[in-house]
């Protein structure tokens, strides 16, 4: 008989198993004429050994009580075991992704100062203030909100610019330069019969004294020219005629408005700035 007839699907064929069973039943030994491959397989294979032992044991004692008990297989456990593992992997991955995007969107989460108590913060602020006081010549704190200073290399000074090395701190605009919302709305010609064309000064120009006021059509009758500060306080008032007027008075640095009026109405409101007065500064 061929080996292929004795071994089938990696195990003993029924015929080979029956040979071994019969040999054990009648001779209590394996037939040495049996093929080596069959005997080697029996030695190694638990399943085939169990098959032979089951049949031999029964045929020797058919009335013996019984073999190992049986029970229903619990098949689902394996499935749930792997489902649980896969679910755990997904949940972990989702948590990591969430953590990554959360930190990416909210980097302040990692800022240590965010988690300091108010007392700790106040102490830190006091220390900073002390440092600034010692730095500043007047002893005044220039600004509460200071940007964090960064050590930078000195830059080559550009022409007409202040010398390098001075650290500019952000400042609020001087109150003298604050715009007056009411007067801002009134800037321009208010002439009912037409447009009053003002030649100088151009609105928002930077001027120094003397200031030349001029308009296209000359006034026949006297009109009034007023110069007011940004709080609408009249500083100067002049009667004007013709088509121009030179102002030679003194004005401090700041924002000013000027008005042209006749007896009954306001004709024009203009706006100009007064900065540092130098001899070379031209009137625009």
């Amino acid at each position: 008989m061929k080996t292929s007839d004795l071994l089938k699907d990696g195990h003993l064929s029924d015929q080979a198993a029956a040979f071994i069973v019969d040999s054990l039943l009648h001779r209590q030994a394996l037939d040495t004429n049996m093929r080596e491959e069959v005997l080697n397989h029996v030695e190694e294979c638990k399943e085939c050994k169990d098959k032979i032992i089951d049949v031999v044991t029964f045929l020797r004692n058919p009335d013996s009580i019984g073999a190992a008990p049986v029970q229903r297989q619990r098949k689902r456990q394996k499935r749930y075991f792997y489902r649980g593992k896969i679910a755990a992997v997904f949940v972990t991955f989702a948590l990591l992704l969430f953590a990554y995007f959360f930190i990416y969107k909210n980097p302040s989460v990692l800022d240590v100062n965010r988690y300091k108590t108010d007392d700790a913060k106040n102490n830190q602020l006091k220390q900073e203030i002390q440092v600034k006081k010692s730095d500043s010549p007047s002893g005044e704190i220039k600004s509460k909100e200071t940007k964090p200073t960064v050590d930078i290399e000195p830059i080559e000074p550009k022409p007409d610019e202040p010398a390098a090395g001075k650290k500019k701190s952000a400042q609020l605009p001087d109150p003298r330069y604050h715009v007056n919302p009411n007067l801002e709305n009134m800037i321009g010609s208010h002439l009912r019969s037409g447009f009053l064309e003002v030649l100088t000064p151009i609105d928002n120009s930077e001027l120094t004294s003397p200031i030349h006021f001029s308009w296209k059509r000359g006034f026949v009758k006297p009109h009034t020219l007023k110069i007011v500060n940004n709080k609408n306080n009249v500083l100067y008032k002049y009667p004007v005629q013709g088509s121009s007027f030179d102002f030679k008075g003194k004005l401090r640095l700041g924002l000013y408005y000027w008005k042209l009026e006749n007896r009954n109405e306001l004709l024009y409101v203009g706006k100009f700035f007064v900065y540092e007065a130098t001899k070379d500064t031209k009137i625009r």
Binding site: F19, Q28, E43, D54, I65, A68, V70, Q73
Partner: protein, 339 residues
């Protein structure tokens, strides 16, 4: 009236000839025990009568012939196993019905399902399996004085076991492995042993036979296995056992192996014998390797033995004791047979 009586007498006589032929010539009790084939004569007689009645010439011979040899010859022709399997395979299934029933009961003893499984096995045999057995079984194969009639029983029961395992798989039921079977404990043992049959089944000789069957299946490594198991059980080794394992064993090596290891721990013992094993096997194994090999084999033997019981009878500990008894029993039988 006389004729009818004569016919009846002949009929009864011929019937007894048929039964005698079945029981003494065709299917002797030594090969077809009453335990496994209690209704064999009646099954075969029924088959014989059906065949006789289906053919007029045979019926005439049976009814009228007074020649014993003719009836015997007719019986042999119809009921010889080869012809029976060829022409009446369902009768063969009926012949083995009790064997199958007992086997299923033996394997599935703890459940009420066994009757259903038994019916299913018989159905599968009759509807198709017996025809495959008929095709596959090789009557011409000679295997060194193999008794063919009993060989068919072994073959048939292997097939029945396969069908039974297939049904278990379909039912999603499995035999518990040795690790899952509950061991016998105090009160449980009493309950378990209430049944007289249970007590009988644990007769030591049967257990020796099982162990012998298990050890026989380790064909290639049997000599080494016997040697190592005897060392493990602290049974004194003989030269014969040593030479069976290491044919070219020197005197010095024999001296090492035969020394008394009682009271010596396993580790130390294997440390002492490992060089002998390495010399003869041509390896450089550590003593732990040999010790683990023995441990694995003992676990396998425990598992195989426990399969034949409903509870975990054997453990690592009591197996050593049982093996000691077995080897002593074997040595005693060898002494008796030598005498």
């Amino acid at each position: 009236m006389k004729k009818a009586t004569d016919l009846d007498i002949k009929f009864d006589k011929n019937r007894s000839v048929v039964l005698y032929t079945i029981r003494h010539h065709l299917y002797p009790e030594e090969e077809f025990s009453l335990k496994l084939f209690p209704d064999l004569p009646s099954v075969l007689l029924n088959c014989f009568m059906e065949v006789i009645k289906s053919r007029e010439e045979l019926l005439e011979v049976y009814q009228k012939s007074g020649d014993k040899s003719k009836i015997e010859s007719l019986t042999r022709e119809i009921l010889v196993f080869k012809n029976l399997l060829e022409n009446h395979p369902k009768t063969v299934v009926l012949m083995y019905r009790t064997s199958v029933k007992k086997y299923i009961r033996y394997q599935h003893s703890n459940s009420d399902e066994w009757e259903d499984i038994f019916q299913e096995v018989i159905t599968r045999l009759i509807s198709g399996k017996i025809y495959r057995i008929k095709e596959k079984f090789d009557f011409t194969y000679k295997y060194d004085n193999l008794i063919k009639r009993s060989f068919f029983t072994s073959y048939f029961m292997v097939t029945v076991r396969n069908i039974y395992m297939d049904i278990l798989r379909e039912l999603k039921v499995r035999p518990l492995t040795a690790g899952e079977i509950q061991p016998i404990t105090g009160n449980d043992a009493l309950e378990t042993f209430k049944d007289e049959n249970m007590l009988n089944s644990l007769v030591i000789d049967e257990e020796f036979q099982k162990l012998q069957t298990v050890l026989t299946l380790y064909h290639r490594s049997r000599p080494k296995l016997d040697l190592c198991l005897k060392l493990k059980c602290r049974i004194p080794l003989t030269g014969e056992i040593i030479h069976r394992c290491f044919p070219a064993c020197s005197r010095e090596d024999v001296k090492i192996l035969v020394q008394d290891f009682k009271g010596v721990k396993d580790k130390k013992m294997f440390d002492m014998v490992a060089p002998v094993f390495n010399r003869h096997e041509g390896r450089e194994n550590k003593s732990d390797t040999i010790r683990k090999w023995v441990s694995v084999k003992m676990d396998e033997i425990t598992s195989h033995l426990n399969r034949t019981h409903r509870c975990k009878v054997y453990t690592g500990k009591n197996l050593v004791d049982f093996m000691t008894l077995y080897y002593e029993h074997l040595d005693l039988n060898e002494i008796k047979s030598d005498r």
